[in-house]
Structures are given as structure tokens and as C-alpha cells.
């Protein structure tokens, strides 16, 4: 697939950067609802990744038409 034509797939690389570099998020503070940062940050990336995937999905669908 030509990345120039389908640049939006790069959006899917974001979760990898966000999650595969633990020094970014391996800490306790700031806490949220009693959850240390390490935990709520990762849980947050579930809906964030879903949103990114939906965005790419929509773009892909539009491009196919």
C-alpha cells in the first residue's frame, strides 16, 4: 500500500509509541480516582486507540469509494 496515498495509516503507529516506551508513563503521579498514572494512562489508551482505528476505518472506506 502506497504510504503517500494512505498516510492515515500512520495514525495507527501512535499507540505503539505511547505504550512501548514505559519511561513515558511508569510513575505513580498524577493519580486519578485512586489509580496511579501507570494504570489510568494505559486504560485510557484503549478508547484512544479505538478512536484512532475508527478514524482510519472511515478514511479507508471513503477512499475505497
Amino acid at each position: 500500500m502506497a504510504t503517500r496515498r494512505r498516510w492515515w495509516y500512520l495514525l495507527l503507529a501512535i499507540p505503539f509509541v505511547a505504550l512501548l516506551y514505559p519511561p513515558l508513563y511508569a510513575r505513580h503521579d498524577p493519580e486519578l480516582l485512586g489509580f496511579p498514572f501507570f494504570y489510568w494512562y494505559q486504560l485510557l489508551w484503549v478508547p484512544l486507540t479505538a478512536v484512532l482505528t475508527v478514524l482510519v476505518y472511515r478514511r479507508e472506506k471513503a477512499a475505497r469509494r
Binding site: 495509516y9 495507527l12 503507529a13 499507540p15 505503539f16 505504550l19 512501548l20 516506551y21 514505559p22 519511561p23 511508569a26 510513575r27 505513580h28 493519580e31 480516582l33 485512586g34 489509580f35 496511579p36 501507570f38 494504570y39 494505559q42 486504560l43 489508551w45 484503549v46 478508547p47 486507540t49 479505538a50 484512532l52 482505528t53 475508527v54 482510519v56 476505518y57 479507508e60 475505497r64
Partner: protein, 536 residues
């Protein structure tokens, strides 16, 4: 506060609810054969449900298939035992979906076009190499078998917490599972997955609200867990503090994410979808299960905070449920786990049977099999695989199954260059085979060197110290050998295999937007595949 030891007595309410739900699911399993009725005498129908599962069913099947009873027991057990490291399951399952979104529709399309049922089918066609396909098939089989056995551990654990010891309940559960899988094929776990997921979601949502309210809130849970973990020997941690721990965490997540869809059962569930589009849509929505898994992992901390002292870490969550929930709801929770073992066990045994039938039996024993014969052999093999897994758990220490499953995860990742990269680029077949062998060797050696106690290996090489997931090291060795080998083979003009696929085979056409027609078209495709195998 004193430690809480949960007595494993048989509570009538718990057992009654459990049995009712289990019975309901058994009925569903048998009735499933009538759903989207078609002749189950060919492998496409029995082994892939006719490739007609739409968005909703695919979501349940994939979720039910990927999130196994063992996952629900082992992930919190790991968090209970060591803390933060066990949480890698969350980033792992988050990162699976972008990979799925990109690669899986491509595999679906070429599999649909050429009648491929297993990853080894694809490798056979793409690289024209019998030995590489066999290597992929064997790896898939070896990785799947212990996984099936471990689902039984999940059932054993909940039965044990209900005070039911002994082998016969397990045997009974498996006989029932074997019977309706034989009859209904992939349709059975697809429908049961719906029931299972409803139960799991209900259980976890209740647990995540009710249990913290009894324990003083999440802040208190994390505090108490952190304290308890730091007092262990070796000390656990709420957050991975050292570079070693962090590299291990990241590589465990990445390696597991890359490996998940290489497992035959994940591919079987995926290839049963009615169109590539279904897989994309699901990749966007399946993350709901990841969130669920994150919450399930936290149950491990809740067990620590509740001062549960299980006989083994695997009992942490069942004990927690038994001590916190009213008896009847404990029955619901346990049914969720037990049924959660049936779905993946069924799909895994079907996937293993598909592999054996297509890529070993048809390839080496009977190339002229009819569709009916294929389906028949697969049914018998699926049965045999379950019997084997049962025997394994009943006769050998559970430790062996756990060790083999750890190895299985390392092994299956070694099929990535041929199955996943093969969707985009063709490395040389001999180089791929050598790479596979190198990966298998490195991974297995590392696991043995750790006495199977850890899937993380502290490697000291060229003055560097890297503490990472064994499967990643193995994959690195694999890729290096495959790339260098490809360059060498091409330079020496070593003959490569024929590619039975063309570039168009990977591209979805508008014609694919519609769901598939009825069986005759599929039989034709399966027949064409058989003839293609004989010609090469």
C-alpha cells in the same frame, strides 16, 4: 486485619446457578448445527462456519476466542504474584488491533480468493514450499495443544473452589464439549461465545463496582497492594521502576501482540468472517475486551487488598469472588469462567484439526481427499486433540502445560516472517525456513536456560545488557537469518518456489463487499485448492 483463607465448600446456590448456565450452554452447542444450516460435510462449513459470520457474531467469536478462561485466571494471578509486570496484558491487547486492522483483511482476502483455510495453506501457496508450510503447520499445532490443556486448568480452578475435586467433572465437561463441537463445528463456539461474553461482562462490571466499594475504594486497594508487594521476596512493584523491568514490559507487550493473530485459532476465527470489512470493523470495536482485561488484571490487586491467601495464585480470583459475592452470583461468575474455557478450547481444537487435515494429512497421506473426507478427518482429529489435552492435564503436573504454553508463545511468533510479512513481501523460502529454525532454537534455548520460570531473558551480548521477552530475541535471530539468507540465496541464484498468488489476490474488489453465496462456490474453491496442491 487477618489473612482470609476461603474454604472450598460446596455452596448449594453457587453450584445450582453454575449447573443451570452450563446446561443452557450445552443445549446451545448442540442446536448450533441448525444455525445457518448447511452441510457440515466439508471443511469450509465445519471448520470455518461457511465463512459467513457477520460483524456481531465475529465480535463475540473473536472476543470469546481470544480472551480465554486461562487469561481470566492467569493474568490476575500474575498481578497478584508480582504486580505491575502482569499488567503487560493490557498494552499487549491494545496493540493487537492496529496490527489486525492492517494485516488481517489482506490475509482474509487472499484466503477467500484461493480457498485457504489455515496459515500453512497460505504459506504453501505464497512460497511454493512444502517444508516451510509444514514447519508453519507443526509450529501452530505445537503452540495450540498446551493452550487447550490450560483451558482445563481454568475449569479445574472454579470447580475446585466450589469444592468439586476429582477428575470426572472435568471429563464430563470435555465430553460434552467434544460432542457438540463434533456435530456443529465452528458454529457451536460462535453461539456459545455470545452467552459467555454476556456473563463475563456482567461479572466484571459488577465486580469492579461492588468489590472496591467493600474494600474502601481503588486508592486504598492500590495502596495496600503496593505495601504487600514490596514486602514479598523477591519484591513486586506497583510500577516497573528499573530499566530491566521496563524493557521486559514493553517487549512482552509487543511480542505478545505480534504473536496473537499468528495462533491458528485466532486465524480460524478471523477467516470465518463473511468479508474483510467485518474484520476491520471488529478491529475498531474489539478493544472493549482489552478494557475488560485491564479491569480483570486489577482483580489481582483487589485480592491482595482483601487479604486473600490462596493455595496457589491461580485461586486468587475465584477465592476473591467466593468471599465477596453472594453465593448465587458466585455461580454466575464461575460459570462465566468455565464457559470461557469452552469457547477457545473448541475453536483451538477445530483450528488444530484444520491444520492437521489440510497441511499434514492431505499433504502427505491423501492428496485426493474429497470435501466430505476432509471434514470427517478434521472432526476426528478435533476429538483426538481434546482427548490428548485432557489426558495431559489429568496425568501430568500442571506445570508442564504452563511451560509448554510459554514455549508455544515463543514458537508461534517465529511464523511471523512467513505468514505476516509474507502478505507484503517474498523472502526466499529456504532463508525463511532457516530463519524459522534459528528462532525456534534461540527461543527454546533461552526458555530452558531460565528453567521455564520466566519468559524474560537477561541477555548480555557485545557489552550490552538487554532484559527482554525471549520471543523477541528469537524473532530478531529469525529475521536476521531470513534477510541475510534471502540476499545470499538470490546472489547464488538458488531456485525459489512459485508464488501461486498474484498481487490482485490481496486487494479487495467491490464484489467482495457482498457476503458469500451458498456452499457450491466454496466446494469449487476447495476443490481447486486440492488440485493446486497436487500440481506443485
Amino acid at each position: 486485619m487477618t489473612a482470609v483463607t476461603v474454604a472450598h465448600d460446596t455452596e448449594a446456590a453457587t453450584l445450582a446457578v453454575f449447573l443451570v448456565l452450563f446446561l443452557a450452554v450445552t443445549v446451545v452447542g448442540f442446536v448450533a448445527a441448525r444455525w445457518r444450516r448447511a452441510s457440515l460435510d466439508n471443511l469450509d462449513e465445519w471448520g470455518l462456519g461457511g465463512r459467513r459470520f457477520g460483524g456481531v457474531i465475529t465480535w463475540f467469536l473473536l472476543g470469546g476466542d481470544l480472551y480465554t478462561a486461562y487469561t481470566f485466571v492467569a493474568v490476575p494471578a500474575l498481578v497478584f504474584g508480582v504486580g505491575a509486570q502482569g499488567f503487560f496484558a493490557l498494552p499487549y491487547t491494545i496493540l493487537v488491533y492496529p496490527l489486525v486492522f492492517v494485516a488481517l483483511p489482506r490475509l482474509w482476502t487472499v484466503a477467500h480468493r484461493k480457498g485457504y483455510v489455515t496459515p500453512a495453506d497460505f504459506v504453501r501457496g505464497r512460497f511454493g514450499s512444502r517444508s516451510l508450510a509444514t514447519a508453519v503447520a507443526l509450529t501452530g499445532l505445537l503452540a495450540t495443544m498446551p493452550y487447550i490443556a490450560l483451558q482445563l486448568v481454568g475449569i479445574q480452578v472454579v470447580l475446585g473452589t466450589m469444592g468439586i475435586e476429582g477428575d470426572w467433572p472435568l471429563i464430563l465437561a470435555f465430553v460434552i464439549l467434544a460432542a457438540y463441537t463434533y456435530q456443529s463445528g465452528l458454529r457451536a463456539p460462535a453461539l456459545i461465545a455470545v452467552v459467555k461474553d454476556v456473563l463475563i461482562y456482567a461479572t466484571i462490571i459488577v465486580a469492579i463496582v461492588y468489590i472496591p466499594s467493600k474494600l474502601g475504594g481503588f486508592g486504598a486497594i492500590f495502596d495496600r497492594a503496593g505495601d504487600a508487594l514490596s514486602q514479598k521476596d523477591p519484591p513486586g512493584a506497583l510500577v516497573p521502576g528499573t530499566t530491566d523491568a521496563q524493557v521486559a514490559y514493553a517487549t512482552l507487550a509487543l511480542g505478545s501482540a505480534m504473536a496473537l493473530f499468528l495462533y491458528p485459532h485466532a486465524l480460524t476465527a478471523s477467516l470465518s468472517a463473511d468479508r474483510a470489512e467485518t474484520l476491520r470493523r471488529n478491529a475498531a470495536v474489539l478493544p472493549a475486551y482489552s478494557f475488560l482485561l485491564g479491569l480483570i488484571a486489577l482483580l489481582g490487586y483487589m485480592a491482595i487488598a482483601a487479604q486473600i491467601t490462596p493455595s496457589t495464585p491461580n485461586y486468587a480470583v475465584p477465592d476473591l469472588f467466593a468471599s465477596m459475592f453472594p453465593a448465587w452470583f458466585t455461580g454466575v461468575a464461575f460459570a462465566a469462567v468455565a464457559i470461557g474455557a469452552l469457547v477457545p478450547a473448541a475453536v483451538m481444537s477445530i483450528a488444530a484439526a484444520n491444520l492437521f487435515t489440510r497441511n499434514l494429512w492431505r499433504e502427505y497421506v491423501n492428496p485426493d481427499m474429497t470435501d466430505a473426507q476432509e471434514s470427517q478427518v478434521a472432526k476426528i482429529v478435533s476429538l483426538g486433540v481434546k482427548v490428548g489435552a485432557l489426558a495431559f492435564i489429568l496425568l501430568l503436573p500442571t506445570e508442564y502445560a504452563i511451560d509448554l504454553q510459554l514455549l508455544g508463545g515463543v514458537w508461534i511468533l517465529q511464523t511471523l516472517p512467513s505468514v505476516a510479512l509474507g502478505l507484503y513481501t517474498r523472502l526466499h523460502r529456504y532463508a525463511l525456513l532457516a530463519g524459522w529454525a534459528a528462532g525456534m532454537l534461540v527461543g527454546t534455548a533461552m526458555a530452558i536456560d531460565q528453567d521455564f520460570k520466566s519468559s524474560v531473558y537477561p541477555l548480555d551480548l557485545f557489552g550490552l545488557h538487554v532484559n527482554a521477552y525471549e520471543a523477541i530475541f528469537a524473532l530478531a535471530a529469525n529475521l536476521i537469518v531470513a534477510l541475510i539468507g534471502t540476499a545470499a540465496c538470490r546472489a547464488l541464484n538458488v531456485p525459489d518456489g512459485e508464488d501461486a498468488t498474484t498481487d490482485e489476490d490481496y486487494v479487495e474488489r467491490d464484489a467482495q463487499a457482498a457476503p458469500l453465496p451458498a456452499t457450491p462456490g466454496q466446494e469449487d474453491r476447495a476443490g481447486r485448492f486440492g488440485r493446486a496442491v497436487r500440481q506443485t
